[in-house]
C-alpha cells in the first residue's frame, strides 16, 4: 500500500490547514489568552483520551489511574526542564517523562493486568493514589505545594505536533498485528487466548503505550501551565479523562477527539460555575450510560460514516 494515498494526503492537508489557520489567528493576535488555554486543554485532553481509549476502549481493560501516569510525565518533565531551561531540555523532558510513565505502566501492568473488570479498575485507582501520595511526600517534588516556575515551552506548534503524532501512532498501532490482538482481547479474552494470543503481553503492551502517551500529555501540561501540584492529578482527573472516552465512545478514536473538543467547549461556557460544571459532567455520564451506553460514536470512526460500508450493520460490540 502506498503511504501517499489520496485519503492520507487529504488528512495531511486538512491538518496542515487547521494548524496554519490557528497559527495565523495567534500571530494576528485574534485569539486571546483565554482561548489559547482552551486550545491547549483540548490538545492535552485529546492525547489523554486517545491513550486511555487504547487501554479501556480498544483493549477492554478498565483503568481508573490514567492521571497517575500523567503526573509522572508532568513531574519528570518539569524537573528536567527546570534544570535545563532550553527547548532541548523541554524535548528531553517530554521524552524522559513519557518513558518514565511507560516504564511505570509496565511495572504496574504486569501484576495488575491479571485482574479483570472491577478489580482492575480499583487496583489501577489504588496505584494512581499511591503515585500521588509519593509525589506529595517526596523532597524533589516539593510536596503539596508542588513545583512552580516551570519554564513555558509548550506552544501551539508543539501541541499540534504531539497531538497529531499521538493520534497517528495509536491509530497505526491499532491497525497492526499487536493492535488487532488487543482488540481481540476486548472481544473475548478466552477466545483470544485459545487462538494463541499471549493476552498478558498485549494487555501490558497496550497499558504501557497508554501510559507513555499519558506521560507525554502530562509533560506538555506541566510546561504549559507553569505550576503542577499532586492535587491536580487525583482520582477526579482520571474520571475527567474517562468521561471524555465514554462520551466519545469506548473504541472510537475520532469519538474521543470530538468528545475532548466538545467537553472543552462546554467547560469554557461553564467556566464561572465550577459546581454546575461537575453536576453537568456527572449527569451526562449517568444519562449516556442509561440511554446510549456505547457513547456518541460507539465503536465507529468518522470515516465509517462516509464509507459505503454500513456502519450500523456492525455486530454489537461490547467490553467485558
Amino acid at each position: 500500500m502506498k503511504a501517499l494515498t489520496k485519503k492520507n494526503l487529504l488528512i495531511l492537508g486538512s491538518i496542515l490547514l487547521s494548524f496554519a489557520i490557528v497559527q495565523g489567528l495567534i500571530m494576528a493576535g485574534l485569539l486571546n489568552a483565554f482561548y489559547e488555554i482552551t486550545l491547549a486543554t483540548i490538545c492535552i485532553n485529546i492525547i489523554l483520551a486517545v491513550s486511555l481509549n487504547l487501554v479501556t476502549g480498544f483493549t477492554g481493560q478498565f483503568s481508573l489511574g490514567h492521571a497517575g501516569f500523567m503526573s509522572i510525565g508532568a513531574y519528570v518533565c518539569a524537573i528536567i526542564n527546570m534544570e535545563m531551561r532550553s527547548t532541548s531540555g523541554f524535548l528531553l523532558g517530554i521524552f524522559a517523562g513519557a518513558i518514565a510513565a511507560g516504564l511505570v505502566g509496565i511495572l504496574i501492568g504486569i501484576p495488575t493486568l491479571r485482574l479483570k473488570g472491577d478489580y482492575l479498575a480499583i487496583a489501577t485507582l489504588g496505584m494512581a493514589e499511591i503515585i500521588r501520595v509519593l509525589f506529595l511526600n517526596m523532597e524533589i517534588t516539593n510536596g503539596a505545594a508542588g513545583l512552580s516556575g516551570i519554564p513555558r515551552f509548550t506552544n501551539w506548534p508543539w501541541l499540534c505536533l504531539f497531538t497529531v503524532a499521538t493520534v497517528v501512532l495509536i491509530n497505526n498501532f491499532l491497525h497492526s498485528s499487536p493492535g488487532r490482538a488487543c482488540i481481540s482481547i476486548r472481544e473475548d479474552e478466552i477466545a483470544a487466548e485459545s487462538m494463541g494470543i499471549n493476552t498478558t503481553k498485549y494487555k501490558v503492551m497496550a497499558f504501557a503505550i497508554g501510559a507513555f502517551f499519558a506521560g507525554t500529555a502530562g509533560a506538555l501540561y506541566s510546561s504549559y501551565f507553569y505550576i503542577i501540584q499532586p492535587g491536580r492529578f487525583d482520582f477526579l482527573k482520571s474520571i475527567d479523562i474517562l468521561v471524555i472516552v465514554v462520551l466519545g465512545g469506548l473504541g472510537s478514536m475520532t469519538g474521543s477527539i470530538f468528545a475532548a473538543i466538545l467537553l472543552a467547549i462546554l467547560t469554557t461556557f461553564l467556566q464561572s460555575f465550577t459546581a454546575v460544571r461537575m453536576i453537568v459532567y456527572a449527569a451526562l455520564l449517568v444519562i449516556i450510560m442509561i440511554f446510549r451506553p456505547k457513547g456518541l460514536m460507539g465503536t465507529t470512526e468518522i470515516n465509517d460514516l462516509f464509507s459505503r460500508r454500513p456502519f450500523f450493520g456492525k455486530k454489537d460490540e461490547r467490553i467485558e
Binding site: 472491577d118 511526600n137 459546581a275 453536576i279 456527572a282 449527569a283 449517568v286 442509561i290
Partner: protein
C-alpha cells in the same frame, strides 16, 4: 505496649466505621455484582442528614441516627431504581461508569446546596474519657463500637433468620432461579440497597461525632477504603466485610502512629494491591472459575 494498645483502640473504632460502610459494598456486590461507587457518597449524605437533624431540629444522637438511616435507605432505593435498574442487562463496565457518575452527581449536587466548606458537628455525646491503665477510651469510641456491633448483629439476624434474608441469599446465588421460585428479585435488590445505605447513613453520623467535621467530598476516601476492606474480607461475604473493616482501620492507625501519617492512604492501597495479587477473592471469598 501502652501506645500499641491505644493505637489498637483507635484503630478498632475507626475500623468499625469502615466495616459499616464495607457491609453496604459487599451486600450490593454480592447481589448484583456491582461496585457501588456512590456508596461512599450515601455515607456523606447520611452525615449531613445527621448534621441537619442535630443542628436545626435539636435532636439527640439516637434520633439523628435513625433519621439518617431512614433517609439513606430511601436514597439508596431511589439511586438503584433510577440509575442501576435500567442497566440490569448492560455490561458491567457500563454499570460501573454509571456508579461513578452517580457518585459525582451526589457530591456536586450536595456541594451546590450546602457549599464546599467544612461544617463542624455539634457535640452530641459527653466528653468523658475512661482510663484503663494508660489506655484511654472516650465516649465517642464506645458509642461507635457499640453501634457497629449492634447493627452487625442485626444484619446477621436479618440475613440468616428472616424470609427477606433468605431471599437475599437466594438472589445472590442465582437471580434467575430465585425468580422462578417466586422471589421478587427487584424488590429484594431494593431491600439490599436500603439496608446497605442505612448502614452507610449510620456510619456517616458516627464519623460526624468522631471527627467533628463534615464536607461534601468526605465520602470519597472512606468509601474507597471501605471498598478495600470489603475486597480484603472477600467481596460478597458479610463476616468478611467486618473483619476487613477492622483490619483496615487498625492498619491505618498503626501506619499513622508508627510511620508517617502522610503515607496512610498509600498503605491502604498498597495493601489492596497485594491482596488482589496474592488472593484475589479475599480472606473469606469463594473461588469461582470462569467458564466459556
Amino acid at each position: 505496649m501502652d501506645q500499641f494498645l491505644q493505637q489498637m483502640v483507635n484503630g478498632i473504632s475507626l475500623g468499625s466505621i469502615y466495616a459499616l460502610i464495607a457491609l453496604g459494598y459487599t451486600m450490593v456486590y454480592g447481589i448484583i455484582k456491582l461496585i457501588n461507587f456512590a456508596h461512599g457518597d450515601v455515607y456523606m449524605i447520611g452525615a449531613y442528614v445527621g448534621f441537619a437533624a442535630t443542628t436545626y431540629a435539636q435532636l439527640g444522637f439516637f434520633a439523628a441516627m435513625v433519621i439518617s438511616m431512614v433517609s439513606c435507605a430511601l436514597l439508596g432505593i431511589i439511586i438503584e431504581r433510577i440509575a442501576y435498574k435500567p442497566l440490569r442487562t448492560s455490561t458491567r463496565i457500563a454499570v460501573l461508569i454509571t456508579a461513578i457518575g452517580v457518585s459525582l452527581l451526589l457530591e456536586y449536587v450536595m456541594m451546590f446546596f450546602v457549599g464546599a466548606e467544612v461544617k463542624s458537628y455539634p457535640q452530641l455525646l459527653s466528653q468523658k474519657v475512661f482510663n484503663f491503665g494508660a489506655v484511654q477510651i472516650n465516649m465517642q469510641q464506645i458509642y461507635i463500637i457499640a453501634t457497629a456491633v449492634a447493627l452487625m448483629v442485626l444484619l446477621q439476624y436479618i440475613v440468616h433468620r428472616t424470609k427477606t434474608g433468605k431471599a437475599m441469599r437466594a438472589v445472590s446465588i442465582d437471580p434467575d432461579a430465585a425468580q422462578l421460585m417466586g422471589i421478587k428479585v427487584d424488590r429484594t435488590i431494593s431491600i439490599t440497597f436500603a439496608i446497605g445505605s442505612a448502614f452507610a447513613g449510620a456510619a456517616g453520623v458516627l464519623v460526624g461525632i468522631y471527627y467533628n467535621s463534615i464536607n461534601p467530598l468526605m465520602g470519597i476516601m472512606p468509601g474507597l477504603k471501605a471498598f478495600v476492606a470489603a475486597v480484603f474480607g472477600g467481596i460478597g461475604s458479610i463476616p468478611g466485610a467486618m473483619i476487613g473493616g477492622l483490619s483496615i482501620g487498625v492498619l491505618e492507625t498503626l501506619v499513622s502512629g508508627y510511620g508517617n501519617s502522610m503515607y496512610r492512604d498509600a498503605a491502604v492501597f498498597a495493601f489492596l494491591i497485594i491482596i488482589l495479587i496474592l488472593k484475589p477473592t479475599g480472606l473469606l471469598g469463594k473461588n469461582t472459575r470462569e467458564k466459556v
